[in-house]
Amino acid sequence: MHESSSLLHTAEVVHWAALITMAAVYSLRLRWLFNFKPGADKSAPGAPHRTDKKRGANYSLFNVAMPWSMESTRKGFAFYLTFVIFHLGVVAGISLAFLSTITPSLVGKPAFALICGSTLFLAFLVAIYRVFRRLFTPVMRLISTPDDYFSLFMLTVWFGLGVVTEAHLAGVRGFESVNILVAYLFLTSFFLIYVPFSKISHYLYYPFTRIWIGRALGHRGSYPIVRG
């Protein structure tokens, strides 16, 4: 077996092992979260003629796709767009890592390469902007922890390496070395293992925090938000 192929095989195995580790740690995380007693609102609904817990939860959960629903995203629409691109980049990067081990032929197709590669490239640019924002905005510096910085640096590198990896898989001249893919898979493996212990695990909590606040404010009558 070619040395780099052997390395690639190891990277693939480590990659899947990392995924299993992440899933296991996530299960423990959720178990930990759900071991806390649930908060309950015993008061009567605030505006039952208008809304309820269910409506509030749905509105809250899907407001990520409704930038007009929050002032912070309505007024900061450009920032919202960077948020969308950044997270699509994560989806593209994860997809690239797994599909490259399952169906290498798919990830090399021009259409896939164009969509995935350009998404990762845009996400890379957004990540660089975010690095600067976190480093040079006084508010962001004040609230940032080493974990915040490291997570962002890591994702920036990961996006950049993802672009190069996609170029490699699409057969672009100058990106032939299989070590590119090996490096990408090892970095993704590290990413998968690190994530449950870092702020990046926010997406695990996201549905819960959104549903809980939505239920609470829906019960009280203030979600969905009404403007006039």
Binding site: R50, T209, I213, G228
Partner: protein, 603 residues
């Protein structure tokens, strides 16, 4: 250098934090990604752009650090990695935390609804307040108010006899104005449908709103009562984070309502009172919805819709705008009813933008009015609200909250907006067409319009004296007017003399002390901000000087933000407190009432 050991207070806070954790709170603690999206939603941030510490996530991080250090894996093993190494360790750190939790946030919850992750930052700040309160670290104002609410059952230290006396006073005035003997405020009436709970500010500073509410209940023909205990709908537990106090306050109201056998508690216009009584109190006290409860705004609206009240909106023809109390709108979804009511009782309503759940705080929320040490910062943060109000061109800002009345009053004065603040009860009472209301329509067929009670012949002299007393309510009284501004002094002297009082003037604190000793007034009307010896210093000296220390003092000031300064002094509080500009009628009746209470106590 090694870190100092945790103090006992810090350890207690950590223990308390564990008790406050539930799934939702933990979700908010672990969910923040420090994205900074909450930044531009906070009125403190927007008005203090050069101070990054105003950002909501920084405030929430104070409790988040404690949580991570004690309850989170990463924080326990690698605390420096997630910021959990910067937890408070000394009692000096607690003072810093106090300033953050109490002095830079009104818990308005605007950041909460603007967080992409659904993090309830305001709740986390309230938790930090509760942890600090539990170890005795809190602003002096919060300590005083909480103590009053624990010990006296209301947050302004109103004595039971003063409360009842005020209700009687308002009953008398209402009956005189109506010329009808049946409009007195019922007290502890068992089996009534409605128990009306109020804000102690109404008793202490603005009893007119009690009279207006009584008029409305009477006109609607309601079977209602006010309780002699458990009448305070406010709850400082919401502000201090003390769930124990919160539960105790709410339970007092519920227990009294149960004792009286009423069907419903109606809560007067108070944002945090409504939230505490209607929602949070249920959770704090552990009672599952003991009674139907509603805001008086809902009650008034229903009366009009049911035809029990008939109103003429042209009686309120000034341009009005509406300020949403954060507690009402964001935490209780209570924002359409006041608008519906406003449109029924006014002719020119201009919406403030943004509004409802997206409205900005009046600056008076979260107990901020009781923390005078943070007043300059609070007033600066009011610039947002001032601009909102200015843009509407309104002459009257209407709100359904007593804290907002005070907060907006400060903002209006500070930014020179030249408008006044009213509550819906004022507008509804003013718009009433009494002859067409239920109390008139529902009287038996052919029955005459209720007339004033017939005064027996033997009582005619008393009645004549009563008429005279109404015409000159301060006849025979001596009043010392202390104010450095000559035009204000002239105004006050004229008003008091027209009401029959003998008046002496003083232009500063030294003159006040000297003339109080020689003139021996029945009451001193005292300005606070004066050159030389200030009103605050003069007040303290008055209270400490034998021979004049018993003279009632009514503060009349153009600086409502000084309110807490004077109440924080280690001497008995002033008997009255009015903000300039002051209404003549209100001034006279208020002063007469203070002197009357003094006389009753003396006898």
């Amino acid at each position: 250098m090694s870190k100092p050991a945790k103090t006992h207070k810090i350890k207690m806070m950590e223990e308390q934090l564990a008790k406050k954790l539930n799934r939702q709170v933990v979700g908010s603690l672990v969910g923040c990604v420090h994205c900074g999206m909450c930044n531009d939603c906070c009125h403190y941030v927007l008005t203090h752009p050069d101070d990054p510490k105003m950002t909501p996530s920084y405030k929430a991080d104070q409790v988040r650090k404690l949580f991570k250090a004690n309850h989170d894996w990463t924080g326990s093993v690698f605390p420096w990695w997630v910021g959990a190494d910067k937890v408070p360790l000394t009692d000096d750190d607690l003072d810093t935390l106090k300033d953050i939790a109490f002095g830079t946030c009104t818990n308005c919850r605007r950041c909460t609804i603007n967080c992409p992750m659904g993090v309830d930052t305001a709740t986390l700040n309230r938790i930090m307040r509760g942890l600090l309160t539990n170890v005795g670290v809190m602003p002096e104002g919060v300590r005083v108010v909480s103590k009053d609410q624990w010990e006296l059952g209301n947050q302004m230290g109103v004595l039971k006899e003063d409360y009842i006396d005020t209700l009687e006073w308002m009953s008398e005035e209402l009956e005189e104005e109506l010329g009808h003997g049946g409009a007195a405020i019922p007290l502890d009436k068992t089996g009534a449908k409605v128990m009306y709970a109020i804000n102690p500010r109404e008793v202490k500073y603005d009893p007119r709103t009690i009279k207006e509410a009584a008029l409305i209940f009477w006109a609607a023909g309601e079977n209602w009562t006010m309780p002699s205990e458990g009448w305070d709908n406010t709850n400082f537990g919401l502000f201090s984070g003390d769930d124990g106090l919160g539960g105790a306050c709410a339970k007092r109201e519920y227990d009294k309502a149960r004792e009286l056998g009423v069907d419903k508690i109606v809560i007067s216009e108070c944002g945090h009172g409504y939230r505490s009584t209607r929602h949070e109190g249920v959770n704090w006290s552990g009672e599952a919805e003991p009674f139907p409860m509603e805001s008086s705004v809902m009650t008034m609206l229903r009366y009009i819709k049911e035809g029990k009240l008939v109103v003429d909106p042209t009686k309120n023809n000034q341009r009005v705008t509406f300020h949403d109390s954060c507690n009402n709108a964001r935490s209780c979804g209570f924002y359409e009813e006041p608008r519906e009511l406003l449109r029924l009782v006014t002719t020119d309503f201009q919406e403030m933008v943004p509004n409802r759940a997206e409205g900005f705080c009046c600056t008076g929320g979260g107990g901020a009015m009781s923390m005078s040490e943070y007043t300059p910062r609070r007033l600066k943060s009011g610039e947002i609200k001032a601009n909102q109000i200015r843009a509407t061109g309104a002459e009257v800002v209407v709100t359904s909250c007593h804290n907002c009345v005070d907060g907006l009053g400060d903002v209006i004065k500070h930014y020179g907006l030249g408008c006044e603040v009213k509550q819906l009860v004022d507008l509804v009472a003013n718009a009433l067409v009494i002859d067409e209301c239920a109390v008139m329509k529902n009287r038996p067929a052919g029955a005459p319009r209720p007339e004033p009670p017939v005064v027996p012949a033997a009582e005619s002299d008393v009645a004549a004296a009563r008429v005279a007393a109404v015409a000159q309510p301060l006849a025979g009284r001596r009043i010392l007017v202390v104010d450095d501004e000559e035009d204000i002094r002239t105004f006050l002297v004229t008003v008091f003399e027209d009401a029959g009082a003998e008046v002496m003037e003083a232009a500063d604190g030294d003159e006040c002390i000297e003339r109080a000793a020689t003139f021996k007034p029945d009451l001193i009307s005292l300005d606070l901000s004066m050159p030389g010896k200030s009103g605050v210093d003069a007040f303290v000296e008055l209270r400490k000087t034998p021979g004049i220390q018993e003279i009632p003092v009514c503060v009349v000031t153009g600086h409502p933000e000084f309110r807490q300064v004077i109440y924080d002094r280690p001497v008995p509080a002033p008997e009255g407190y009015l903000n300039k500009p002051v209404d003549e009628g209100k001034l006279v009746s208020y002063v007469a009432h203070i002197i009357e209470i003094r006389d009753e106590r003396a006898n």
